[in-house]
């Protein structure tokens, strides 16, 4: 049993890391990775929503009728997303302004519904918790990695701290939309090369 838990947790960090292996949740991956701060904020929101919705879905997996399960999952996910949105507005308003529409859009993020449908509705609460945490942390780390590349090259800073001297000319292509696609493409390429070995 403990081995199972560890496996469910660690698979989200490497084997099934969402944007690079499952290639899910790409919309926020492209949109909010301009700075590491945004990426971490988005990741935290996803960790919270994913873990909570996994727990609730797993708890109620025998009570939810099969025919309306998707509707019920969406209600659970949407509730937690709205809670995150309100709490963010109340406590981290500047971050809320930066992430904007991408917070409510977590509802339609395939990762969440995918984990609820494919995992939490078939497994015990503890395993679902481990799965949610693992995938969520994996997602946060992937976003942060991508954001570090983009922020360091595009603005010359890391978490708003300058890393180069004043003579650095920012490579502003990286923080524009095409830069996001190029970065993601390169990351996917590296991940696939590593897998082949």
């Amino acid at each position: 049993m403990p081995k199972g838990i560890i496996h469910e947790f660690t698979k989200g960090l490497w084997e099934e890391v969402p944007p690079f292996r499952l290639v899910l949740g790409l919309c926020p991956t492209l949109a909010v990775t301009k700075t590491v701060e945004n990426a971490v904020g988005m990741g935290m929101a996803v960790i919270f929503v994913l873990t909570c919705s996994n727990i609730i879905v797993s708890l109620l997996r025998n009570l939810i009728p099969k025919q309306v399960r998707i509707a019920c999952f969406i209600v659970v996910i949407a509730t937690f997303v709205t809670i995150v949105e309100l709490v963010m507005q109340a406590f981290t308003y500047p971050l809320y302004l930066k992430l904007g529409i991408f917070i409510p859009l977590i509802v339609v993020n395939c990762i969440l519904l995918g984990r609820a449908e494919a995992f939490a509705s078939k497994n015990s609460v503890i395993l679902s918790l481990a799965d949610g945490l693992g995938i969520g942390i994996g997602y946060t780390l992937s976003l942060s990695t991508l954001a570090s590349f983009r922020e360091i090259l595009g603005y010359g800073t890391f978490y708003h701290i300058p890393v180069f001297g004043p003579s650095f000319k920012p490579f502003s292509f990286m923080v524009k939309a095409p830069g996001a696609f190029v970065c993601l493409g390169l990351m996917l390429c590296i991940m696939n090369m590593l897998k082949k070995k």
Binding site: L63, I64, A71, I83, Q89, Y93, P94
Partner: protein
């Protein structure tokens, strides 16, 4: 039929619980969210206008009925006396509505400062009505017993170069704010007595 009822019940109960939970979260975060929004959207401008006051004008605020809407009035305490108020009004600019906060000394009926909060003006041209301190400073110390106009319209305000329409919009917003102030003055004075230093 029995199955139908079960599905219906499941979705209803799910939605009801979610709705109840969300209204709970909303009501407990609402006051804080309102404060945060004021702080980050109007806060910087307000602080500039109320320079040297001893209180937090965002905390010391009240609402008064004006026509069909409610106007938020911010109070500034100077030398232990609540003697300044600030309120926001809107004027029509080049790219849409310009929001301007006007600070007024209630004893002398003079403007203590103005500042643009929200606008959709051309960056670098009309947006200088917000960023150029010398444009804002023209309003300071002037009596509210006059109508503000740009010099091109025969008034007393030097428009920002190349941004006559935006400058006109700011004047219009200031005039609107003064009109509201004049109408609500007796009520404002009554409310101010309840504020202590």
């Amino acid at each position: 039929m029995r199955d139908m009822l079960k599905l219906f019940l499941a979705v209803t109960i799910f939605s009801a619980i979610s709705g109840g939970l969300l209204s709970l979260v909303r009501s407990s975060t609402q006051a804080r969210i309102e404060y945060q929004q004021l702080k980050f959207v109007k806060g910087p401008t307000l602080k500039e206008i109320m320079k040297g006051c001893q209180n937090d004008p965002i905390v010391d605020r009240f609402k008064l009925k004006y026509g069909k809407t409610h106007k938020t009035i911010f109070v500034g305490i100077f030398n232990g006396k609540p003697k300044a108020i600030a309120l926001e009004a809107f004027g029509k600019g080049f790219g849409g509505e310009i929001g301007v906060i006007v600070g007024i000394d209630v004893d002398s009926n003079k403007i203590i400062g103005i500042g643009v909060t929200t606008h959709h003006e051309t960056p670098g041209v009309g947006s200088r009505t917000k960023t150029d301190p010398s444009f804002r400073a023209q309003f300071k110390g002037l009596s509210v017993m006059q109508v503000f106009k740009v010099k091109a319209d025969g008034g007393q305000i030097d428009a920002v170069t190349g941004a006559t329409i935006s400058s006109r919009g700011v004047c219009q917003a200031v005039n609107n704010a003064i009109a509201i102030y004049k109408k609500l003055r007796p009520e404002i004075l009554k409310k101010l007595k309840t504020f202590k230093s």
